[in-house]
Symmetry: C2
Subunit: 206 residues, 2 copies
């Protein structure tokens, strides 16, 4: 709220906005040419900056890759985590998390960011650790929600929250490999089918 | 059988063996440096060939990438498909397929090939089409087996064989992102848990 109300904050918002736009466009270039195949010059041209201007914004190519991944995790927080965090019923929270995460992966405009986030071997050292820590935090959130769902039933758990979380992440994150929104399976059908499949796998028949 | 019995076949076998070794080692170099980051010189040195010798064996860098992916699909055929094809009971066939595919993905010695097979944007044109056709054939096999399993129950299907296949592929192929054989979850436990989870998701409670 303050950000949009107080004029002195505007420059910071512009910088943030510029960084997001750079991340989006750079992700497309990296996706097309590969991390090693894309030069900072290629990326600067695509973004519409001089090479010096691009370096001014992102510091280095490593740092740019980090910013893209960090932006991907920001989107996950914004469009999934922050929207489900306050849902009291764990089943409903899990259901909304699955639907939100599927929506994020199949949104074509962020496809390149999704791919780069998953194929993260190019990132090294501390920057890689920061991204991995954010991914771990999301996995812990899934595990906790799954454990709560299991605790709400009378049956003993059939799968550990950890394995169930990774099975779920696999089902969802793999979508970028094959799912096309323009194909025969529409997103609501996909999401509902995956939610039901996951809940049956987790809990058995209801 | 003929291959190992008839001396004139030996040279062909040697060539095949040499190509497999090149694929294995080259996969490691491509995995470490990325397709664009790894030069044919890097790969030749790792394999222990001159650059000319490497080109003699594989023709081009594109072709080498294709051979690695093709080799990955050969392994899938050898260690999974060929071993389950003649199992009459579809449930048992599906169970063995899941266990075999999990084993393939978590075998550390082929990790790089698995990764390269999944991150296949570097392959273009006809070579890419050949690999994708082989992947499609495997998916059809999964779909058929799943449909047979569903047909063997009295309940109406709860998920299409296609979506169930992709959910399964996601669960299994995603393992390379997180599963470590030296970690706390051993492969037999992982495989059994995933098999049971998948069958519950597919059919509901048994």
């Amino acid at each position: 709220m303050l950000d949009s109300a107080v004029p002195p904050m505007a420059p910071r918002r512009d910088t943030k906005h510029a960084l997001r736009e750079i991340c989006r466009i750079a992700a497309r270039v990296l996706y097309d040419k590969g991390y090693d195949g894309a030069s900072m010059q290629d990326i600067a041209e695509a973004v519409g900056l001089t090479k010096a201007g691009l370096y001014h914004h992102v510091g280095s190519k490593d740092r740019l890759l980090f910013e893209i991944m960090n932006y991907g995790m920001n989107i996950l927080d914004e469009v999934v985590v922050s929207k489900v965090r306050d849902i009291v019923d764990p089943r409903e929270r899990l259901r909304r998390t699955i639907i939100g995460h599927i929506d994020l992966v199949v949104r074509t405009r962020d496809l390149e960011i999704t791919v780069i986030l998953h194929e993260n071997r190019s990132l090294k050292g501390d920057l890689r650790r920061v991204i991995n820590a954010r991914k771990q935090a999301y996995i812990r959130l899934l595990e906790q929600t799954i454990a709560e769902v299991q605790a709400g039933t009378s049956a003993p758990p059939r799968i550990s929250p950890r394995l169930a979380s990774f099975a779920l992440l696999g089902m969802i994150n793999w979508l970028y490999q094959w799912y096309r929104p323009e194909g025969p399976i529409k997103e609501p059908e996909l999401a509902e089918t995956y939610v039901d499949f996951f809940f049956r796998g987790l809990l058995g028949e209801r």
